[in-house]
Each structure stands twice: as structure tokens, then as C-alpha cells.
């Protein structure tokens, strides 16, 4: 038998109260694209941290090219020839792209580099980055690509990618897949961590499935149906989301006319003449690669961004451009930002206090006093109704996983009975079960006559739940078209900002 590039044997890792990995094994051959599939909390991240030397296992062995190795730190793994792209970015915002890449490289290599050395690499992998741009100015999607670039620059023998496509456009994803296949053909092994079944079936040669910290199967994903894979991962059949049946939309509830916002200091993209109507009983999707003004659009609609004319945004005919977020909420407009911790929730505060954050003052505090018992009950209600995994309504928001916190936030805003809900990346980082629940909640809102604006980079998500779709590019918003009329080539053109040629 050929020597494996990387082999993990009988890895066990215990955290207080949790057995994160229980006798897990994984073997990756040279040039193989190997998927590690599992729900959030199945132990994927722990396993990869152990492989990469960021964590020490309680038991088990890491074998590299046939030799057992003791990894004391990620540095050791990098020295051996492993690269990793983390799901959560570890970039220096005050440094440029090139500087960030250099920092991840061995000193001996870094000393030999000259200005401009990165450009061919960026070109080759079609990452579309400016080496001299400051990371602090980049969007989430672009930062992800910096992470990828950083790993590729070290010419790894094995590359670990943790949920890399969650913020990529379809073209970028296709380009990434081509790159990965090319790397694999050159002999580099790829470990691809994901819970996106379609991607795994499309890309990977083999697939190790984890569930609750144990290996449940090692399969060839190309020969399996999506349902079979999902069943392996979840342990039971997946609940299908009731896809939104088309229905006649009602009157416009949110009207935006020529909304322009200058680019914030240090960023390139502002909003230019954004206009759209959101009607009662519909979900309008906003697609596009992040960094094209989506964040600003959400802030402008939520009321966090100020300084625009009153009548560029109208809610049921009423100008609200100058109202602050709490006033807009009182009128029925609620927003869910992309950043959950620190913006959507206060990390150190309990879920009950975080319910209070966006509650109407009259309901939250009678005569200025906070009703703690009512808040705890409200938080418990959201936990139960939206399947949030939290042991108590008082646990700090920080202690919840990303997907759970997202469910909590969606539940919290829906609890406020909005007429219009604006949400950015509502399922980013959520596993299949959580995503399905969130989508169902959004569709229920729509079917009850509410309206939702969903800003997302996940096209599958948008095509699954939206009635109409528009695209953001360069701070402008395309006309919205019905889902049935959306074509892949058209979306590709629109994402580059070329929609004026199309007779929409």
C-alpha cells in the first residue's frame, strides 16, 4: 500500500464536558481531495486543529508521509509542508495583503521575495486581490481569499480548507475548484472540510463522515446520492424545506429611491443610486460578491448609517431615512446584521439581555425598569421555538456556536413581528439543520404577508427561497427579476455590474 501523505490514527480529544473526538482516524493519499463531512459540533474543527498542531490530542498519533510526528505548534506543521485556510480569519487588518502573506511564510523564504512577487500567484489562482491593499479595507469574501493565498504561497504538500466556499461567488468557487483540482494533479493533497453536500460530491475523491465526534463512514462521495450523504452526516433523513410556492406579491412596503451613501473612510465602495421595491408577501434576494456595498445597504436600511435624505427610504409610504434603528423597529422594519457577536448580540451578556437589545421599549421596560423574568421567558420561547441549543436563557451569547446564535437572532427579530425583515448572510456558518429552520422561518414570514430582503452570497440559498433576485456590484443594485427568469450566465454578467445591456 502506498504511503499516505497524512494519517491520523485513533485521535481522541476531550474538553470539559465534551468528547470532541473519540478514536477518530483519517487517511489522505498524495494528490487526493479528501472531504471531512459533519454537522457543526461533529468534531471536524478539533480534528483539523490536531492535524495542524494547534491542539495536542489526548490520545492518538499524527503520521506524516509514513513517519509519526509530534506537532507542538502550527509552525511545526507548516515546516512539514501543511497549509491551512481557517474559517475564522487570522489576518492583520493594519497590514497589506502582501505583508499578511509574508508573515505566514518561513523567514528564509520571506527574505528572498521582492516587490511584485505575489501578482503571478494571484493571477494564476484568479483571486482578484491587490497585493498592496490593506486587509482592513477588504470585505469578508476578499479576506477569505487572502487566507487562501497565504496558504498557497508556501507551496504546501497538503492543504486543509475549512468551509472555504461559504463567501465565494459561483465563478470564484468554480475557479477555486479548478485550482484545487490542479493542485491535486500536481500531487498536493487537499483536506476539504464542509457540510455542503453538493460541493463535496462535485469536488472530492473520498469522504470521511464524522458524527458526534466519531468516524461513521469513509465513502466515495461521487457515487452517492445527496440524501445518502446527508443521512450519514445527520443520522436521520433531512427535513426538506418547503420551497416557496410562487404567490402574487402585494403592495410595496419598503421603497428605496436613489439611495446613495459615500464610501466609509478606508473603504472603496459606497452606494450609488440604489432603488428597489420590496412588496408584501415576497422575499427579495440580493446576490453578489461581498464587498460590493452589501454591508452599507444593510446599515442604511437598519438605520445604523445616517445622513441620507428622509424620503429615499419609505416604509409603507412613510419616509424613514432619518429615523434611528429603534424608531424603524417600532414601525416594523427589523434587520439582522452579518456580524453576530458584537453587533447583532452583546457577547458578554446573556440571551435574555440580548432579547432586550432589539425589543420595543414599551414592552421591554415598564416605566424604565427592566422586567428580567419576562426577558428570560421570551429568550426561552425563542430557544424552544427555533431549536437554539443553549442550556439556559441566561448563558452569554458568546458561548453559542455561530449557527445557534444565528437561529437565536432570526428568532428574536421574527418574535418582534416585523413587516419587513432585512437579513445579511442569514445562514452563514449554520449547519444544514439550522439553515433549514432559518429558511423555513423566513418563508413563513413571507407566507404570512411579511416581506424579507435577504443579502447573501450563497446563490443556492437565494434561488431556494427568493421570489425575486437582484445583484449588487460596485455599490449599484441591478433591477430585480423573478426567480424563474434567472440564468447562470446572466448572473455572472450581472455580478460584474453589466446589467444595462440586458433587457430586464
Amino acid at each position: 500500500m502506498a504511503v499516505h501523505r497524512l494519517e491520523l490514527r485513533g485521535i481522541t480529544k476531550r474538553y470539559p464536558g465534551v468528547l470532541a473526538n473519540d478514536d477518530v482516524s483519517l487517511a489522505v493519499a498524495p494528490g487526493e481531495i479528501h472531504a471531512v463531512l459533519g454537522e457543526n459540533g461533529a468534531g471536524k474543527s478539533t480534528l483539523m486543529k490536531i492535524a495542524y498542531g494547534a491542539l495536542a490530542p489526548d490520545a492518538g498519533q499524527v503520521v506524516w508521509n509514513g513517519r509519526p510526528v509530534a506537532l507542538r505548534a502550527p509552525d511545526d506543521a507548516r515546516t512539514l509542508g501543511m497549509g491551512m485556510v481557517f474559517q475564522h480569519f487570522v489576518l492583520f487588518e493594519t497590514l497589506t495583503v502582501a505583508q499578511n502573506v509574508l508573515l505566514g511564510l518561513p523567514a528564509a523564504f520571506a527574505r528572498r521575495t521582492r516587490h511584485g512577487w505575489l501578482a503571478p500567484l494571484i493571477e494564476r489562482y484568479r483571486l482578484g486581490l491587490d497585493p498592496d491593499a490593506y486587509v482592513g479595507d477588504l470585505s469578508v469574501g476578499e479576506r477569505q481569499r487572502v487566507e487562501l493565498l497565504r496558504a498557497l504561497a508556501a507551496r504546501p504538500q497538503l492543504l486543509i480548507l475549512d468551509e472555504p466556499t461559504s463567501v465565494l461567488s459561483p465563478e470564484a468557487r468554480a475557479a477555486l475548484f479548478a485550482t484545487l483540482r490542479q493542485l491535486a494533479a500536481e500531487g498536493c493533497s487537499i483536506v476539504y472540510i464542509s457540510h455542503k453536500l453538493a460541493e463535496i460530491r462535485e469536488l472530492c475523491d473520498r469522504c470521511t463522515v464524522l458524527r458526534a465526534g466519531r468516524t461513521v463512514a469513509v465513502v466515495d462521495p461521487r457515487g452517492m446520492a445527496q440524501d445518502e450523504l446527508a443521512a450519514l452526516m445527520l443520522g436521520s433523513a433531512v427535513d426538506e424545506v418547503r420551497t416557496a410556492a410562487p404567490r402574487p406579491a402585494g403592495d410595496p412596503v419598503l421603497t428605496v429611491r436613489r439611495l446613495s451613501v459615500p464610501a466609509p473612510a478606508g473603504q472603496r465602495v459606497g452606494l450609488r443610486d440604489v432603488s428597489f421595491d420590496l412588496r408584501a408577501g415576497e422575499i427579495l434576494g440580493v446576490a453578489g460578491v461581498s464587498g460590493n456595498g452589501q454591508a452599507l445597504l444593510l446599515s442604511a436600511l437598519s438605520g445604523e448609517e445616517t445622513g441620507m435624505p428622509d424620503d429615499v427610504i419609505r416604509l409603507m409610504g412613510r419616509p424613514i431615512g432619518r429615523l434611528r434603528p429603534s424608531a424603524r423597529r417600532a414601525l416594523g422594519l427589523r434587520a439582522i446584521p452579518e456580524e453576530r457577536l458584537g453587533r447583532g448580540c452583546v457577547p458578554e451578556m446573556g440571551l435574555d439581555d440580548n432579547v432586550l437589545l432589539t425589543m420595543a421599549p414599551a414592552q421591554a421596560a415598564a416605566g424604565g425598569w427592566v422586567r428580567r423574568r419576562g426577558l428570560a421567558a421570551a429568550a426561552s420561547g425563542i430557544i424552544a421555538r427555533y431549536g437554539v441549543r443553549a442550556v439556559s436563557p441566561r448563558v452569554p451569547a458568546r458561548s453559542l456556536s455561530g449557527g445557534n446564535l444565528q437561529k437565536f437572532m432570526v428568532g428574536r427579530e421574527l418574535q418582534g413581528a416585523p413587516r419587513v425583515l432585512v437579513a445579511a448572510q442569514p445562514t452563514w456558518g449554520a449547519d444544514i439543520g439550522a439553515a433549514a429552520r432559518i429558511h423555513q422561518a423566513l418563508i413563513d414570514l413571507r407566507n404570512a404577508g411579511g416581506a424579507a430582503l435577504i443579502i447573501s452570497e450563497d446563490l443556492d440559498e437565494l434561488l431556494g427561497i427568493c421570489d425575486r433576485l437582484a445583484v449588487m456590484a460596485g455599490g449599484r443594485l441591478s433591477p430585480a427579476v423573478a426567480r424563474a427568469r434567472v440564468g447562470a450566465d446572466m448572473l455572472g454578467r450581472w455580478m460584474e455590474g453589466r446589467w444595462d445591456d440586458d433587457p430586464a
Binding site: T79, S326, G344, P347, E348, T358, G368, W369, S399
Partner: protein, 357 residues
């Protein structure tokens, strides 16, 4: 190589034990200091740990010092919770002393006994006015409140000097830089016969209770905490950072002003060039020792008061320099910060990564 690793979660118990550990270590450090200075460490520590609590009069003195400390520390806790770094409580205290003292000087022998309430109100307004200056400069021009509040402290101290050397100097005071002593009606009542403990202590307890209610139970207090803990979340919720700034600064100004008024209308009974041995600064330490919790601020203020008294005793009985109090305060704060770092992080001793194989 020593590395600090963030802990996944800080233990609640450790969070509360950290100030205690800091105090114990401060005492050990103090003992070491006494040994170096050639003083019997047991005798030295006795002055700090036993003497301040020995007898009714000693408790009274403790209350005299703890009251202004606690008032300032409670006010500062509110500021720090709002992420407003007001370190000029000392200046606000002096402003309260000047305003309260000015009103107190207007009283005569025949004045109504309730007049002291006016003195109190004047003290609060004085402190608030001085705090408002910092708040306004930050609000209007974005000036750094830490610098502004600190610098304004020296300004108001000079103003106090001008007043007691000039217009308010007691004409029968043998040219000492101090005002005439206040009349009975302008003085805070004494709490217990035989001690100097005055009504300021009751005010401190009341302030802590109200501050706790405000922070933990009121909606404006919640908004203030959100602004302090997560500014982006406050923006998203629609809470005003300006409101948090003004509320916390004015609250702290009022309490510090009350403390200053309590000094001049309490134990001093007149205005002099120095109305506080740095209570406003020591209160910063007390606020952090008390975990920015009003009740904690009360307890920590008693500790800081004992340090002051121990320091005074060390001067009079052992002939040690006055700066011993500052050394103890500094030691306590440094050790507390160290302890808090260890509560949130763990130290990992790591050999440098092995060379390439």
C-alpha cells in the same frame, strides 16, 4: 518563550478571587518592603490590617475616609461600564468642594438647620459642572476624556488655591490659606457620638444602592452597559453613545462633587488648599478592585481607606515616608491587573519551534 493564551471562558470564582489575591499579595509585598526599610514586618502590617479596625473611633476614621472613596468609586464604576474613561474624579471632587464650600460660607449663625441640603446640592452641581466640561469637549470635539478629565483636575486645584489664598481667605486666620470655618447649619451631621463619621457614609451607601438599581435593573442603565460593552451592538440597537457619555459623566460628577462637599462640610469644616489626599485617583483603583460593581466599590473603598489610615500611622509611629500609601495603592492595582490577566489568559511556556527537518 512565554506566551499568553486566552482562556475559553473565565471562571466566575476566579474573577472574584482575583482582587482578594491581589490584596493578600500586596500585604506580602508590603511586608517585604518593611523588612527592606528595617521595620519589623509584623508591626508594620499591624498598622494596616488591625489598627484601622481597632475600636469605635478607628471605625469612625475608616468611615470618614471610605465615604468619599466610595462615592467616587461608584461614580467611576458607572463611567467605566459605559466605556467612558473618566479619571478626573479628583477634579470633580474639588469642584464639589468649592461649590459646596462657597454656599456653606453664605450661612450664618442664625441659618436654618436644613441649609446643609443646599450645600449638598451645590456640591453635586459643582461636580456635575466640572464633569460636563469633559463630556462636552468629548461630545463636541471628540477630545480624549482621559486626558481632558485628568488635566482639568489640575485646573480646578489651582482655582481652589486662588480662592483660599485670595477672596475666600479667612480675615482672622493669621494669613493661613484657608476659609473661615463654616457655621453649624452648613455642616453634615455626625453619625455617632465620639467619632468623626458623618452623613457622607449614609450618602455612599445610598449612592451604591441607587447605582446598582440603575445599572442592573433600569432600561437606561442597560443601554449604558451595552454602549460600553459592544459599541456596534449599541448602534445596531439604536442606543445613543452620547446619552451614555453624558449620563455617566454627570452621575460621576454628582457623586464626586458630593464627596468633595462631604470633606469640607464634614471633617474639615472649611476650605483649605488641599481638600483631598487623592481620593478621586484612589477611587479608580477601588472601582476596579470592586469589579465595577457598586457593592464591590463599597467594600473596596473600605480597603483603600484602611490603606490610607495604615499609611498615616506608619508615618507617625514608624517614621516612614508618606509615599508609603502610594506604594501600597500602586502595588494593589498592578497586582490586580496581573491577576485579571491570569484569569482571562493562561501562561504557556513554549520552547522555540524546532528547526526544519
Amino acid at each position: 518563550m512565554i506566551q499568553l493564551e486566552a482562556r475559553a471562558s473565565a471562571s466566575r470564582l476566579a474573577t472574584w478571587l482575583s482582587p482578594l489575591a491581589a490584596l493578600v499579595l500586596t500585604m506580602l509585598g508590603g511586608a517585604l518592603l518593611f523588612v527592606i526599610l528595617g521595620v519589623d514586618p509584623w508591626q508594620g502590617l499591624r498598622l494596616f490590617l488591625v489598627e484601622p479596625f481597632n475600636g469605635l473611633y478607628a471605625w469612625g476614621e475608616l468611615a470618614v475616609k471610605a465615604a468619599p472613596l466610595a462615592l467616587c468609586a461608584v461614580g467611576l464604576s458607572i463611567c467605566f461600564r459605559a466605556n467612558v474613561w473618566n479619571i478626573g474624579a479628583e477634579g470633580q471632587l474639588v469642584a464639589g468642594a468649592i461649590a459646596g464650600g462657597g454656599v456653606a460660607l453664605l450661612a450664618g449663625p442664625e441659618t436654618w438647620r436644613g441649609y446643609v441640603l443646599l450645600v449638598m446640592a451645590a456640591g453635586m452641581l459643582g461636580g456635575m459642572a466640572w464633569a460636563a466640561l469633559t463630556a462636552w469637549l468629548k461630545d463636541r470635539f471628540g477630545a480624549n476624556e482621559m486626558l481632558v478629565s485628568l488635566m482639568l483636575t489640575y485646573v480646578i486645584q489651582l482655582l481652589l488655591g486662588y480662592l483660599v489664598f485670595g477672596p475666600w481667605r479667612d480675615p482672622y486666620g493669621y494669613n493661613f490659606p484657608q476659609s473661615r470655618s463654616f457655621d453649624e447649619a452648613a455642616l453634615l451631621p455626625t453619625l455617632w457620638e465620639g467619632t468623626r463619621a458623618h452623613a457622607g457614609l449614609a450618602l455612599a451607601f445610598a449612592a451604591a444602592a441607587v447605582a446598582w438599581l440603575f445599572l442592573a435593573r433600569s432600561y437606561p442603565g442597560f443601554r449604558l452597559r451595552v454602549v460600553g460593552a459592544a459599541p456596534a451592538a449599541a448602534r445596531y440597537a439604536g442606543y445613543s453613545p452620547r446619552q451614555a457619555l453624558w449620563t455617566s459623566m454627570l452621575a460621576c460628577g454628582a457623586l464626586a462633587g458630593l464627596a468633595g462637599m462631604g470633606e469640607v462640610a464634614g471633617p474639615m469644616q472649611r476650605l483649605t488648599t488641599s481638600v483631598s489626599p487623592g481620593y478621586g485617583f484612589a477611587a479608580v483603583i477601588a472601582a476596579f478592585l470592586g469589579r465595577l460593581h457598586p457593592a464591590g466599590a463599597l467594600v473596596a473603598s473600605v480597603v483603600m481607606a484602611a490603606l490610607y489610615i495604615g499609611g498615616e500611622l506608619a508615618q507617625s509611629r514608624l517614621g516612614l515616608p508618606a509615599s508609603i500609601v502610594g506604594v501600597f495603592q500602586g502595588l494593589a492595582l498592578a497586582l490586580l491587573l496581573l491577576g485579571d490577566t491570569l484569569v482571562r489568559h493562561r501562561i504557556r511556556w513554549r520552547r522555540p519551534a524546532p528547526a526544519a527537518r
